[in-house]
Every structure is written in structure tokens, then in C-alpha cells.
Symmetry: C2
Subunit: 192 residues, 2 copies
DNA sequence: GTCTATAATAGGATAGAC
DNA sequence: GTCTATCCTATTATAGAC
């Protein structure tokens, strides 16, 4: 593999952006070629199985980012408030303050193949796990923390849908605030 | 217009189902032709501007359904509890108990043209308005009712995204329960 | 590892008969 | 109002030179 990992990562990043904006069916090879600066044939050199393999790589990357930027920080040492602030900052970057779609939502109902679908599921599962950890550390009971996490992730996904449809970012902002509230709630500092 | 309105409605319903399951780019003319039982040329007879016009018709229908089945009942006479129960029942039908995508979410980031996009925005706006009314009748302050409504609609949209990705319907069910809770909350029967 | 060129096919759309 | 036949373009994908 003469190509450096960094160069490959760069390619995947560009593909990531296209799939995120246009979805799977909406992203043509011409789009992907333009975004990466590579000819179609070069794309097939890197991804012999075509678009499905590109989507798989993009979702692998998404899962890796969630593990390192969300789940990792959620489980790290430090005060709950500090961890949550860091994570909210990461979301704001990922979603450009709530103005950019989520790759997971965009590909959630597309024909991306079984392997890519598994990456998608894992990324979502780890995201939920991270929020669940934060809620538990905020003193929420195990069952409620699990539900809070699932519901909060749904809320973010939906907020991004509303943004795409109407341009409004209020729902996204309030979702982020609801996460920040975890460090202010209930019987102060229950577990942390 | 020799075609009966009922027949046209039937066609739009079939198109509706295809766009809902496959999205705009994912729905090919072949898919739409198969689902309606009409040849491509017949589809163009009904919708001379092609797919965009079909999407527009489908979203007009979605807006009409929301007006008559959600916003209407929300503003109707009757106890808050009864109205909410009826509306939740309608959602459960629309989304097959949370197992079917929402046409509004599916088309929210697609290239559907300005007119169709306006129908989409109106459908969402009326949906939010309906929930806002319910929240107000449940005794929630105006500002909070507005936020509750936007956030709840986002939550439902996101719950359907999660369902598509993972098959889980818990988030959808809990969202419906959160609406039902409006008639159980706070200073009993504040406004209703 | 990237390119130009070229298939091969699917997709959107139209013409014209019935 | 629907059909068959056809068109044209975009799209996915491959071959082979550099």
C-alpha cells in the first residue's frame, strides 16, 4: 500500500462530505470524483466495489470519530461538566452548529449494503452508549439513562432533519442545552 | 379532467409510498411505474414535469393529511386527553407503529424543487402548530409550548431515523407517550 | 496510482398509435 | 388515458496506457 494513510484519510473525508450532503443515491460518481479530485478510475482503484465500498469506508470513519471524540471523552476522567462541554463542542463542529446533516441519518434508509449498515449501527450504538454514560454520571438511574440517551440521539437526528427542511436551528441548540443540563440537574453530583 | 379525483388520489397514494420508502433520488421512474401500475408515459400524462411534480403532489397530500388528521383534531372541541389520543392513533397509523419512515424526513434534504419544498415546510409548520396547541391546552406557557412542539416533532423524526437504522421502536413509542403525558402533567387542566 | 477512453446500462423523458 | 417504442443523457463500471 504505497499510498500513505493520511492521503487515504483525506480521500475518505472528501467522500464523507459528499455522502453527508447528498445521501447515497444522490451522490454520483461524478460528484465523488469532483470532490476528491480523482478520476473515476482512480476511485475504483481505491474502492474496487464502488459506491458501496466508499460508503462503508465513510461509515467506518464515522464510527472511529464517534469512538475517539464522543465515547472516549464520555468515559474519560474529569468532571462531568467538562466532559459534556467538550462533547457538545465536538457536535457543534461535526454539524457546523446544527446546519449540516448527519452522515448516519443521511444513510440510515439507503441501500448501502450489509457491511456498511453494520458500521452505521455500531456508530449509533456507541454514540448512545456515550450519552448513557454521561446521564448515569449525572445521577440518572440506569434504565432512565438508557432511555435518555436513545431519546436524545433521536432528538439530535430529528433536529438536523428539521434544519434541512426549514433552516431552523433552535431544536438543535436546545438539544445541546439539554445535554449540558445533565451536569446541573437533580441531587447535585450524584455519582461524579 | 375525465379521471376521477378518487383515481388520481389512488395514484398519488402509491407514489407516496414509494417516495417514503426510497427517498426522492432512490425512487426511479421504474419503481413509480411499477407501484402505480401505470407505464412511464402514463405517469407523464398525469405529471408532465416528471418526478418533481410527483413529489410536489405527494407533499401536497401530506400537508392535507396533516391539516385534516392532526391540526384539525388538535383544534377541535373535546377534552385534551381525547384529542391527544386520537392524534397519537393517527401517528401510529401513519408510521405503522414507528416502523415506517416519514415522507417529510425522507424528502427533507432532497433536490425536489422550490414548490415541493414549500409544501414540505408548510406540512411541518402545521404539524408543529398542532402540537403547540396541545401543549398550550395542557397548561404550558406560550414560549415553552412552542419549543415543546418543535422539539417533539424533531424527536419523532429522529425516532424514525433510528428505526430505519437499527429497527428499534423504543424511541418512537416513548415520543408518543411524551405527548400523551401532556394531558397528565402540571397544574391539572390549566386551560382546557 | 492516476489518467483517457470506452463500454454497458439505467434513468428520465418524449412521440405517436390506440 | 394508456400503451409500445424510442431517445438522450447520466451513471456505473472497466480496459489499458502512462
Amino acid at each position: 500500500m504505497p499510498t500513505t494513510q493520511a492521503a487515504k484519510d483525506e480521500i475518505v473525508d472528501r467522500l464523507f462530505a459528499v455522502f453527508r450532503e447528498r445521501g447515497f443515491e444522490g451522490a454520483s460518481l461524478a460528484d465523488l470524483s469532483r470532490a476528491t479530485g480523482l478520476g473515476k478510475s482512480s476511485l475504483y482503484h481505491h474502492f474496487p466495489e464502488g459506491k458501496e465500498q466508499m460508503a462503508k469506508a465513510v461509515l467506518e470513519r464515522a464510527a472511529a470519530v464517534i469512538d475517539s471524540q464522543i465515547l472516549g471523552p464520555a468515559q474519560a476522567a474529569g468532571s462531568l461538566k467538562t466532559r459534556i462541554r467538550k462533547i457538545v463542542g465536538t457536535f457543534d463542529q461535526m454539524y457546523a452548529g446544527g446546519t449540516t446533516p448527519c452522515i448516519l441519518g443521511q444513510l440510515s434508509s439507503a441501500d448501502i449494503g450489509a457491511e456498511a449498515r453494520q458500521n452505521l449501527g455500531q456508530a449509533l450504538a456507541h454514540w448512545i452508549e456515550a450519552i448513557e454514560k454521561l446521564a448515569r454520571d449525572g445521577g440518572v438511574s440506569p434504565v432512565k439513562a438508557r432511555h435518555f440517551a436513545e431519546d436524545w440521539v433521536a432528538r439530535v437526528q430529528g433536529a438536523l432533519v428539521l434544519q434541512a427542511a426549514t433552516g431552523e436551528i433552535g431544536p438543535y441548540r436546545r438539544a445541546m442545552n439539554a445535554l449540558l443540563d445533565l451536569s446541573k440537574d437533580s441531587a447535585a453530583g450524584a455519582q461524579d
